[in-house]
C-alpha cells in the first residue's frame, strides 16, 4: 500500500478519493452547479440595488458605501460555507452511501477534512462570480479590502465548518428527519451575529450573547474598516480564539453523535 500519510494516520489518498467523489457528482449535474451560482448572484443583485437606493437618500450610507453589500458577501461566505459542507454530507445520506463509507478505511477526520475542502470549492464556485457582479454592477471591490479580507474569510469559514460538523453529526444521529436543521440553524445565528447592524443596537444582555459568536467580531470588524478605515486586529484575534474552541467542540460532538448513531443502529437506516 503506497499511501501519503500524515501524523496519526490521516491519509491524503483517502481525502483525495472523497473530493473526487464530490467532484464527479458536481460535474454530473448542471442544476447543482447552477444552484451554486444562482442564489449568491440573486442576493448580491437585490441587496446591491437596495444599497444604491438608500445611498441616494441617506448621508450615512453615502459615507459608508459598501457596508450593506459587504455584509451580504461576508454573510454568504458564512452561510454558503456551512451549506457547502453540509450538502456534501447530505449527498451521502440521500444516496444511502454512508454505510459504504463507514465500512471503508475512511476515518471520520478524513471524511470531515474532505467536506471542508469541498465547502471551499463550492464556495469558490458561488462566491467568486458574486464578488465580480458586485464589482461590475455596484463598483464594490471586496478584494480591495486586502489583508483584512483574509482575516474575515478565515474566521467566517472556520465558524461555518464548526456549524457544519455539528449539524452533520445531528443528521447522522437522527437521520434525514433532522435535515431541516442544516438549512435553518445559520439563520438562527444571523440576528445575533449583527450582520447588517452594529452590536450596540442589541439590548445589553443580548450583546453578551452576541459576543460569544465569532461572526459578530467579523461584521463589527468589517464596519470598522469600511466606515472608520480601521482594521481591528483585536476583534479578529478574539474571533479566532473562539473559533478554535468551537472547532474542537464540534469535532468532539460529531464523534459523540457518531458513537450514539452506532449504538442506535441509525447508520444502517439513515432515513427519517
Amino acid at each position: 500500500m503506497t499511501e501519503i500519510s500524515l501524523h496519526r494516520g490521516i491519509s491524503l489518498h483517502r481525502i483525495g478519493a472523497m473530493i473526487l467523489r464530490y467532484w464527479y457528482l458536481l460535474l454530473s449535474s448542471w442544476p447543482r452547479l447552477l444552484e451554486l451560482l444562482y442564489w449568491p448572484a440573486l442576493q448580491v443583485i437585490t441587496w446591491g440595488f437596495l444599497q444604491l437606493y438608500i445611498a441616494q437618500n441617506a448621508n450615512f450610507f453615502a459615507r459608508a458605501g459598501g457596508t450593506l453589500i459587504g455584509a451580504v458577501i461576508l454573510w454568504d461566505i458564512l452561510f454558503r460555507g456551512q451549506l457547502g459542507f453540509s450538502i456534501s454530507f447530505l449527498e451521502e445520506m440521500w444516496a444511502r452511501n454512508l454505510g459504504n463509507l463507514m465500512m471503508s478505511p475512511l476515518k471520520p477526520i478524513e471524511f470531515l477534512l474532505s467536506l471542508m475542502i469541498m465547502s471551499l470549492i463550492r464556495l469558490a464556485i458561488g462566491v467568486i462570480p458574486m464578488t465580480l457582479l458586485a464589482l461590475f454592477l455596484f463598483h464594490f471591490n471586496v478584494y480591495a479590502l486586502g489583508v483584512p479580507l483574509i482575516a474575515f474569510f478565515c474566521n467566517l469559514i472556520f465558524t461555518s465548518w464548526s456549524v457544519g460538523i455539528f449539524v452533520s453529526g445531528l443528521v447522522l444521529r437522527n437521520g434525514l428527519g433532522a435535515e431541516s436543521i442544516v438549512w435553518t440553524l445559520m439563520f438562527g445565528i444571523m440576528p445575533l451575529a449583527c450582520v447588517y447592524y452594529p452590536v450596540s443596537v442589541l439590548p445589553v444582555w443580548l450583546q453578551y450573547v452576541a459576543w460569544t459568536l465569532p461572526p459578530t467580531y467579523v461584521f463589527e470588524g468589517m464596519r470598522a474598516l469600511l466606515i472608520e478605515n480601521t482594521f481591528r486586529t483585536d476583534l479578529m484575534l478574539s474571533a479566532l480564539a473562539i473559533n478554535a474552541v468551537l472547532l474542537v467542540a464540534s469535532f468532539g460532538a460529531f464523534l459523540a453523535l457518531l458513537r450514539s448513531a452506532r449504538m442506535q443502529g441509525s447508520l444502517l437506516s439513515g432515513g427519517e
Partner: protein
C-alpha cells in the same frame, strides 16, 4: 463457564495470527426495549463460507452490522481477522468488504467513477487494471460508463458486488447477495463467489433467504430466531437433525416453532 474462563478463552494478541476470521463472543444488542441479538457466540475459520439464516427480525442484519462495526454491541465482543471491533477497526477495514441492500452506490456517478472512488479509498494498487478485471469478471463492461442510477436492479447488484471485491478482501460480508437477480445471473454470481473464495482463501459470511443458495454455497449454516442461535452446523447435518431433505423445510420448521418436534424425531 465463569467470567474468568470466558475471558481466558478469548484470543490474545499472541494468538491473532492463528485466530478465526470472525469470533463473536456472547454478543448482545438491545435497541431500547428490543433484544435484537441475544447472547450469541460463534467462530468462523478462515476460508469458510457460512450462511446466516433466519426470518425477518431474527437478528441477522444486526449481527453482520456489529461485525462490521456499524453497530456497537450492548455487551459481548467481536473480533475480525484477529482485531477487536470496533476498537481496532482501522487495522482491519481495508482487508474486508461488504454488500448490503441497506446501502446503495451513488446513483449519479458512473460505474467506473464509483469503482474508482472506492478503489482509492481502499488504496487498491493498479486500480485501472483492477476495474477492468472486475468489469470482465462480473460482465460490467457494457455499462461501465453509465450512471449507476440508470442500471437495472440486477446490474446494480453486480456493481455492488464489484465494489465489495475491489480490494480483494480476505473477509466478505454479504447480505442477500443475489436478491433482485434473475435465476441465471444469480447462479452465475454464486459461481463467481465460489471461485473467489477458492482463489483467495477468503472467508464469506452471507445472510440469505434463498435456501438453495445457502445449500449450494455454504459449508456451514447458522440459523437465528428472535436474536438467538437456533442451530449451527453443516447444511447436511442440520437437514438430518430435522429429518428434512431441504434447508427450506428446516427454515419453515424453525420459523413455525416445530423445532422441538423435529428434534424429537431426529433423536
Amino acid at each position: 463457564m465463569t467470567e474468568n474462563d470466558k475471558a481466558s478463552s478469548w484470543p490474545t494478541v499472541a494468538d491473532r495470527s492463528l485466530s478465526a476470521a470472525i469470533a463473536v463472543d456472547h454478543l448482545v444488542k438491545v435497541y431500547k426495549q428490543t433484544r435484537a441479538v441475544d447472547d450469541i457466540s460463534f467462530s468462523l475459520p478462515r476460508g469458510s463460507i457460512t450462511g446466516l439464516l433466519g426470518g425477518n427480525g431474527a437478528g441477522k442484519t444486526t449481527t453482520i452490522a456489529t461485525i462490521m462495526g456499524l453497530v456497537l454491541p450492548t455487551s459481548g465482543r467481536v473480533q475480525v481477522l484477529g482485531h477487536r471491533m470496533p476498537e481496532e477497526s482501522a487495522s482491519v477495514l481495508g482487508r474486508m468488504n461488504f454488500e448490503s441492500p441497506y446501502v446503495d452506490m451513488p446513483m449519479r456517478l458512473t460505474v467506473r467513477q464509483n469503482l474508482t472512488v472506492f478503489g482509492k479509498l481502499y488504496a487498491v494498487k493498479n486500480l485501472s487494471d483492477r476495474i477492468a478485471e472486475l468489469g470482465d469478471d462480473l460482465d460490467l463492461t457494457e455499462f461501465i460508463d453509465r450512471a449507476n442510477g440508470k442500471l437495472s436492479a440486477g446490474q446494480k447488484t453486480r456493481v455492488a458486488l464489484a465494489k465489495a471485491l475491489i480490494n480483494q478482501p480476505e473477509l466478505l460480508l454479504l447480505d442477500e447477495p443475489t436478491a433482485s437477480l434473475d435465476p441465471d445471473t444469480a447462479d452465475w454470481v454464486r459461481g463467481h463467489l465460489e471461485r473467489y473464495r477458492k482463489a483467495n482463501n477468503a472467508t464469506i459470511l452471507l445472510a440469505s433467504h434463498n435456501m438453495l443458495e445457502v445449500e449450494r454455497l455454504c459449508d456451514r449454516v447458522i440459523i437465528m430466531k428472535r436474536g438467538r442461535i437456533e442451530d449451527d452446523d453443516t447444511p447436511e447435518a442440520i437437514m438430518a437433525r430435522y429429518n428434512r431433505t431441504t434447508l427450506e423445510e428446516v427454515f419453515l420448521d424453525v420459523a413455525r416453532g416445530r423445532v422441538n418436534g423435529a428434534q424429537e424425531v431426529a433423536r
